[in-house]
Amino acid sequence: MRPISSILEQFQRKSLLALLLICFGLMITSVPGVHAQTLTGTAPTINIATAVAGSEPTPVTNTGSNVKYSGKTFLSKITVKTVCANQKFDLSVVAGSITAGRGTAAAAVVLLNGMLDTDFIVSIPANVGSTTVSLRYTAAPQFSDGTGTDTHTVTYTQVAN
């Protein structure tokens, strides 16, 4: 008959191994590129062409791109931020309609150069299937902004919620 200490020792090794495996598994699923969230469609290009006298130029919305994501090991969320040197014009983005149970759209996010990561889609359940959500960009320049082109690099990041 094996001594209890031997059993405990074996149990300890197994549990240690199991824990290490769990941690390794979690790390693997946490590495960018594994089950990657992707951006699809056409990168948004917005041209402001009309204005009504007395009001600001007419805002233009672009819905030609999407974010595709899936649930991770934990409850997760997607944040957004932008880099746009010498930004002149107002640009915001909000998630289009999301299938029930696949996350919740945050309020429209105003994209400002150098901003911190800001919640875009929250409460994405763990292990939810592949989900595609349209990105609704709206540009709303003002006459006082003048003319020109803003080029943003908009980054979406899926992180633990």
């Binding site: 979690l26 590129g33 290009t45 402001i48 994501y69 003319t147 943003h152």
Partner: protein, 176 residues
């Protein structure tokens, strides 16, 4: 006693290994980055310049009301219409002209009650006597939008007698 000593050693050993792992895991978990993707988003705004006037026909009648004996010329005014604009270049201005070449009476127009956004500062609005040649009506309106009242003044010297001038079209043109 031997069993308990072994158990204690085992647990001690386990805690020494597991505790730091657990702590690292707990610290890292909230900021766990699963995936990241970027794309470009472009917003282009070309030169925009718009102007409009409120609808309605401006009618000025010198009919004796308000006319002061001994004062010449007689005048009458109208503030019934408004003008709105928007321009996104710094050099924008509005010019005005009339379609009526041969005028018996003088008709002037001026922008008053100017409400510029973000500011009315720098806007100049002289009194313009209407002719068929475009003349500056408002300057300094660049990078602004706004509204104003159009103050039309009909001026009729007694020497011009009676009659009617019909300015079929008064054109306001905004240039960037």
């Amino acid at each position: 006693m031997h069993i308990f000593a072994n158990l204690r050693n085992s647990l001690r050993c386990q805690s020494v290994v597991l505790l730091p792992i657990s702590l690292i895991f707990l610290l890292l978990m909230p900021s766990c980055l699963f995936a990241q993707a970027s794309h470009a988003a472009k917003v282009t705004v070309p030169n925009l310049a718009v102007v409009s006037v409120s609808s309605g026909v401006v009618s000025l009648a010198i009919n004796g009301t308000g006319v002061v004996a001994g004062v010449d010329p007689m005048t009458v005014t109208s503030q019934a219409t408004t003008l709105s604009w928007g321009a996104n270049t710094s050099t924008a201005k509005i010019a005005v002209k009339t379609s009526l070449a041969l005028q018996k009476y003088t008709l002037t127009v001026q922008a008053i009650n100017i409400n510029g956004v973000p500011t009315s500062t720098g806007i100049s609005a002289p009194v313009v006597t209407l002719t068929t040649t475009s003349q500056d009506f408002m300057t300094g309106i660049g990078l602004k939008r706004g509204t104003c009242t159009l103050l039309y003044t009909g001026i009729a010297p007694a020497s011009k007698g009676t009659g009617t001038d019909t300015h079929t079209t008064i054109t306001f043109t905004i240039t960037n």
